[in-house]
Amino acid sequence: MTGMTGLLFEGADWDFPTVQRIHDACEGVARSELGLDVYPNQIEVITAEQMLDAYSSVGMPLFYKHWSFGKHFAFHEASYRKGLMGLAYEIVINSSPCISYLMEENTATMQALVIAHAAFGHNHFFKNNYLFKQWTDADGILDYLDFAKNYVAHCEERHGRRAVERTLDAAHALMSHGIDRYPGKKKLDLRAEEKRAGQRRRHEEEVFNDLWRTVPSGPAKSAATLNVERRRKLLGLPQENLLYFLEKSAPRLQPWQRELLRIVRHIAQYFYPQSQTKVMNEGTATYVHYRIMSRLHEQGRISDGNFLEFLQSHTSVVFQPEFDDPRFSGFNPYALGFAMMQDIARIVTNPEQEDREWFPEIAGQGDVMGVLRDVWANYRDESFIGQFLSPRLMRHFRMFHLHDDPEERAGIRVDAIHDERGFRRMRRELARQHDVGFIDANIEVVDVDLAGDRRLLLHHHVVKGAQLNETDARRVLQHLADLWSYDVSLLEIDQSDKVMKEYVVSPRQAPAAA
């Protein structure tokens, strides 16, 4: 590190050497002081239009073509043009090297903020958090997306755009239920995945022999011999990953359709950790940028004026409107995350008696970054809030818990407030609100009527009386039935095993005679 003194930049203008200087300075603080461990950085400067492009393909630099991305683009573009929506300052991609997109309009201060935030904060989180380690393959994702894009284009050429579109539509509808929630198998290796898909196709082409079609098959085994248990075991039931189940077991899908389902499933899986760690991910990045920027200011590398500009952006990012504020739309993950990180730092260095009771392991332990790095590596939102939300912070946010039971005539009950009786209940409830497993409907495939009309049977386990939105559910089931090619039925079952509602949907095209 050379030139540890002197301003990194003056005023608002920047050029590429400035960005390089900022990056090096941030890196110095991030490595020596915060002990961060990051993927190599790749910083790309883009225009507003390119940012809009990136928005419409979930932030990824390349993606297969589909009309829904066009729809999102049109939507974002319209609201951006009207001035309803500002664009993000950056987008960061969980890949190795870690790609951060910076908008060209940002001032030098904003670029510094964004580099500290994305290229070090998010980057460290991506590389170290257990969910990302377990479920995503940062080295392979870009290659895999490239493969996916080409594969989809190839399918369109071979099988027609309409057919591909239909399959993708259906797969997208089921995307939220195309995720493995529990690690069973080995870590996802997208490169091998891509290679495997190619090999399988080649193998099929090599061993293809039309004669096989004409060989008479032996007498079919009596279906009755397969008892229910055995059948369920063979099909791997119950199965909550609907896309996986269809890919493996749907009777009439073409191989390329199965591959498309697989692609959508892998992409859904790739984004799964992000939805589980919003508060932590943003909290980490915000805490890191705050530490880095403050240190650079202390070192005299960022001028007072620019630091004020930073503080202005920082405070608007971590602003939490109160529930009766028109701007309120739930907890701001930046605000909650940042407040919790700072609170943990306070507990570690300067605990009060209350903190010693609540957090005996970390209170007064002294090593702020050690504790934080451990938290960043080993928790997700639900467990993070469940363990580290302190009473002090609940008081600070003046949290309260509402219980809205439609049966209750008197109205909505205030179940707990920020007092001694309420702390633990409220913390449990807030943690639950951030549990993806609890937010998504719990739907699983339970059985297939192999002996009869091949009907697919699904159950939705209703929690707290929240049933599926009927129009949407019908549409999704329609897609599901189209993929399955036979009838599909969904039962909504409450905790006492009472059936609340039954859906039966038939595929749009009757299965052709085999």
């Binding site: 910083i43 400067v45 390119q50 509402l402 807030l430 949407d472 559910a473």
Partner: protein, 427 residues
């Protein structure tokens, strides 16, 4: 550690263009409906500007399994006065804790986005055409014409543009400081008179240099040569003329005039956009007819009695003067409230059957009425019954009635819809 900083700003934009086209293709019918609806609300001259349309989100919905209802728990920030066990009224006065939660009532939202001008007009005028554009004789006899279009560096020697070539050569010679002839002659003269040996040697060297330079830099270089360029311009495949006949007499109310003008505005937009070689003739009439320019036609005030035959006569005169029926496809669109003086009926009928209809490919009659005009349907107007009679006689005549602004587009669309071959004759 290696860090890469990449400037992506120069990468080609429009990465989402294909997705956008896919989206538009998929939403075509919805967008088309929205475009037509938008065009009713807007002033028609703004229609061509493109702009924002909203389509029902429902049509482009991407369904997901969503849960709704049931018992809801939420933790919120900003408690001011609540204590445990309080009950808040549900209507929302209790502090707005319950404005509609996510997943409720959002399915009917319209989805707004901006269409570019071209996208808009294409969708707007999709599937419309002039019926029976048959007289293509001209296209067969006339070849493609050519017209001058600047200069080029290659071509046939016959097309060399001498003036341009010489000018460029001069420019180049000046720029490269080619020694002029006079300059050399002057030096030579000096040389022949000069006695001093040393000076002579100097002069000889200079002269040699100048001569060598003059040789190196040619008087006319191949790069100076320019050829006249010609561009071939396709001649019209078919020539067509549209006559717009509008009744502006006193019996037409403001509303009716508005309807008629809207109709013509649409027609105008449609013709200008779709056909490069369509002439448009504007005729407005009261008890006498006049040919006017488009501005007067759409914006000029006028009033008076009604003689339909005057307009028909004017049209006939113009056809005879300028648009020979053997060369031109002739169309006419007439808008009127249907009133005509009784004495004129016969003359108008005669003009139509004898002179106008025989030369027309298509004649559209639009009868405009008062808004909400139900009485309008009770008895047919003078013109309507006249045209109806002609039509049943097999004349290429289409008739529609319009009394609401919102009906204009459907009627217009109906009149100029692309038809299958077999129903060409049917009105």
């Amino acid at each position: 550690m290696a860090i890469h900083i990449i400037d992506r700003r120069l990468n080609p934009g429009g990465k989402s263009l294909e997705n956008r086209q896919r989206f538009l293709r998929r939403a075509k019918s919805l967008v088309q409906g929205a475009v037509k609806k938008t065009s009713q609300e807007r002033d028609i001259k703004d229609v061509l500007e493109g702009g924002e349309v909203s389509i029902p989100l429902d049509g482009m919905h991407e369904p997901r399994f969503r849960r709704q209802g049931g018992i809801r728990d939420m933790v919120l920030p900003g408690n001011k006065k609540f204590i445990e066990g309080d009950y808040l009224p549900r209507s929302g006065e209790g502090g707005g804790a319950r404005d509609s939660g996510p997943g409720e009532g959002d399915s009917e939202d319209a989805f707004r986005f901006v269409l570019s001008r071209d996208e808009f007009v294409d969708l707007f005028l999709d599937d419309l055409e002039l019926p029976d554009l048959a007289k293509r004789k001209i296209a067969e006899t006339e070849s493609e014409g050519s017209q001058r279009a600047g200069y080029t560096t290659s071509g046939s020697p016959a097309n060399i543009s001498i003036s341009r070539t010489v000018r460029l050569a001069l420019l180049r010679r000046v720029a490269l400081r080619r020694p002029r002839k006079q300059e050399i002659e002057q030096l030579e003269a000096e040389l022949s008179e000069c006695e001093d040996e040393k000076r002579r040697a100097e002069l000889m060297v200079t002269l040699d240099q100048l001569k060598a330079k003059a040789k190196r830099i040619p008087f006319i270089d191949p790069i100076d040569i320019r050829y006249r360029r010609f561009e071939t311009v396709p001649k019209p495949v078919a020539q067509a003329v549209m006559f717009c006949l509008m009744d502006v007499s006193g019996s037409m109310s403001e509303h009716m005039k508005d309807l008629a003008k809207r109709f013509y505005m649409l027609l105008y937009v449609f013709l200008k956009r779709r056909y490069r070689h369509v002439e448009i003739v504007f005729i407005r009439h009261t008890d006498r007819a006049e040919e006017v320019d488009e501005h007067t036609f759409f914006y000029g005030p006028a009033s008076g009695g009604t003689l339909v035959s005057s307009a028909l006569q004017a049209m006939h005169d113009i056809v005879r003067e300028r648009f020979s029926p053997s060369d031109w496809n002739i169309y006419a669109a007439q808008a009127s409230d249907g009133d005509n003086s009784y004495s004129d009926g016969e003359l108008a009928g005669l003009l139509l059957t004898e002179k106008i209809l025989p030369v027309c490919q298509f004649f559209a009659y639009l009868e405009v009425g008062e808004s909400g005009g139900s009485a309008f349907d009770l008895s047919d107007s003078a013109l309507w019954s006249l045209y109806d009679r002609l039509r049943s006689g097999g004349a290429p005549l289409s008739m529609r009635k319009v009394s609401e602004r919102s009906e204009i587009f459907p009627v217009f669309h109906d009149l100029f819809q692309r038809r299958g071959q077999q129903e060409k004759v049917a009105p």
